[in-house]
Amino acid sequence: MESSIFLIQLLNGLQLGILLFLLSAGLTLTFGIMDFVNLAHGSLYMLGAFFCASLTLWSGSFIVGILLALPLAAAAGWLLEWLVVRHLYERDHLDHVLATFGLILCLDTLVHIGWGPAGIAIPLPDWLNGQVELLPGLLFPSFRLLIIATGIVAAAGLYWMVNHTRLGMLIRAGASNRTMVGALGIDIKTLFSGVFAIGAALAGLAGMLVAPITEASIGMGNDIIITAFVVIIIGGIGSMKGAFVAAILIGMIDTMGRSFLDDIFKLLMSTEAAETAAPAISAMLVYIMMAIILTFRPQGLFPPKTR
């Protein structure tokens, strides 16, 4: 019995990690290639969820909803890049942070105006609502399996794109020397817009996958974006491999901490003390780990080579 709970939590941790990776991949892309800090990345996650919710309710199918919402999320990213982000590349990080913080306020309010203050639940088709028996006696919700599978496909696709396509080659070249890529006749502006849109689509996808579990709600991106930041800090800012490893690590540690820390604490202290301390410590666990890793490796686990 204990081991099946452990396995289920392991899968839950993997699922959280995959979602975090989808979010931090966009952050890493925009930071790696454009040296741009985007706080509003969480708002794109939220927009994805709301687009998907509306389209699912309109079309009656969650899958159609996702397929239609993905290009919309990318378009929203493209629009933001064109309207605001583009004018900030030459500025320092402080300006990035402030302007994108302003964007968050705007986007949160626009969603409030457009969809109202309440969250929107996304209905799942029956075949996703059930549970799958992975091992004898080990049931796992099929939708969460779908999240894991989608995330792995997206991660593989991203890996293929970055390492084996012309676009990926430009992205890698842009990350190591922007000016040179521009001098070689590549339209840097369009490349940047495209990369930003890809990041937006990935963040939107993460939002769409979460929304059926939690429902689409205003400000849903503002909590998880901080965890995504922790992921890219631990991974080494700008490193895709680092983002993947750190995302899975954080997903696992957070989930495991929340499920098992009180049991572990109960072995060490009184039940009462454990029940008070465990939730606080498990909420802080991710950050404590970040502090420890940074103490030994200030640049993260996989720092990209300096330009």
């Binding site: 930071f31 800090v37 706080l39 605001v84 004018h87 900030l88 500025r91 990080h93 402080l94 300006d95 942070v97 402030l98 302007a99 913080f101 302003g102 964007l103 968050i104 306020l105 705007c106 949160d108 309010t109 626009l110 409030h112 105006i113 503002n222 901080i226 930041f229 922790v230 890219i232 800090i233 800012i237 008070t276 939730p279 606080a280 498990s282 909420a283 802080m284 950050y287 404590i288 970040m290 502090a291 940074l294 103490t295 200030p298 640049q299 993260g300």
Partner: protein, 333 residues
């Protein structure tokens, strides 16, 4: 006397100028006048303004002068406020005898002590990193405090905690709104003076030198890390003190007050007012409060114009309002 290459630097900070004096005199006279003319509501608005300005001044010390973009300062406000709430809670409902107290000095000591300690520990880690890492790590540590408080159900968790009794000091009662305002106002003036002295001192010169060119500072034999850490701790302690005042003002505290978006607002106040201007944060706090009071009176969607203003001020208004004002009057920093 030996000459010190640092204090010989001609770029001494600007002293209190006329505008700052007008600002401070207005803040001293207007709110009590409004209170006595039957507008006690405005005294509350001004109290909040002064406390926010105080927190922003503390942030300005690291952000404006030190060039250290801390995105976690709301955590110190929260720590300071909970340093009032938690002892009062235990004094009222029992438990945790070692800190249970209504005594204002205990609250004050805890607020400053805990904030300084937190700043020391997190600063020691954050300051090993540069630029964008620093921004995100301070943000993450701020959020760590947020989640920790949310998960402690004893102190209300998400719902927050009502402070039943304000900090007790011999001779004065903070229950009187005018007394509380006077305390906040005098604290602001004192902290402004302190920051003014700090930035004008050798220490402040090093801090600003490290922002301008760290390599040169190292070349003349200065360990920037230690100076920055001390500045970070001072800033954290001052912000914790602002939190102590905030807790006594609102008598209700919740984790929401240390959410990272609150840190963003503090940064907005500093930048809009003009970073590295002594009185910049006060200007910023005034504009922020006006925006909040006026816009939120018109529409529940007041964050939209607020956000747009933030974007526009970043894109077009460099140096903040104080910088723009200096440009208008033909002065440059």
């Amino acid at each position: 006397m030996t000459t010190d290459p640092i204090t010989e630097n001609p770029g001494a900070p600007k002293s209190f100028n006329r505008f700052a004096i007008v600002l401070l005199v207005t803040l001293a006279l207007l709110p009590p006048a409004l209170f006595y003319s039957g507008n006690p509501f405005w005294l509350d608005v001004f109290t909040r303004l002064v406390i926010l300005a105080l927190a922003a001044v503390s942030l300005n010390l690291v952000l404006g002068y030190g060039g250290l973009v801390s995105f976690g300062h709301a955590a110190y406000l929260g720590l300071g406020a909970y340093a009032v709430g938690v002892p009062v809670y235990h004094a009222t409902y029992g438990g945790f005898e070692s800190i249970a107290s209504y005594n204002g000095w205990v609250h004050l000591g805890l607020a400053i002590g805990v904030s300084a300690l937190f700043a020391l520990i997190t600063g020691a880690i954050c300051l090993r990193t540069r630029g964008v890492n620093f921004i995100m790590i301070t943000m993450a540590f701020g959020q760590m405090v947020f989640y920790a408080i949310v998960s402690i159900e004893t102190y209300g968790g998400d719902d927050g905690l009502t402070i039943d009794v304000r900090s007790e000091f011999p001779g004065i009662s903070l229950d009187n709104p005018l007394t509380l305002y006077a305390l906040c106002y005098l604290s602001l003036v004192a902290v402004l003076y302190l920051v003014h002295r700090i930035t004008g001192s050798r220490f402040g010169m090093v801090l600003r030198g490290a922002r301008a060119n760290e390599q040169r500072m190292r070349a003349i034999g200065i360990d920037c890390y230690r100076y920055r850490l001390v500045a970070f701790v001072i800033s954290g302690a001052l912000c914790g003190y602002a939190g102590f005042l905030l807790g006594n003002f609102t008598t209700f505290i919740s984790p929401e007050m240390m959410d990272w978006t609150r840190s963003g607002e503090l940064m907005f106040i500093v930048i809009l007012g003009g970073a590295a201007y002594l009185y910049g944060p006060i200007v910023g706090a005034i504009v922020f409060i006006i925006l909040e009071e006026v816009l939120s009176g018109y529409t529940v969607y007041w964050h939209l114009p607020f956000g747009l203003l933030l974007i526009f001020s970043v894109l077009f208004l460099r140096g903040g309002l104080s910088g723009a004002m200096d440009k208008l009057t033909g002065r440059s920093q």
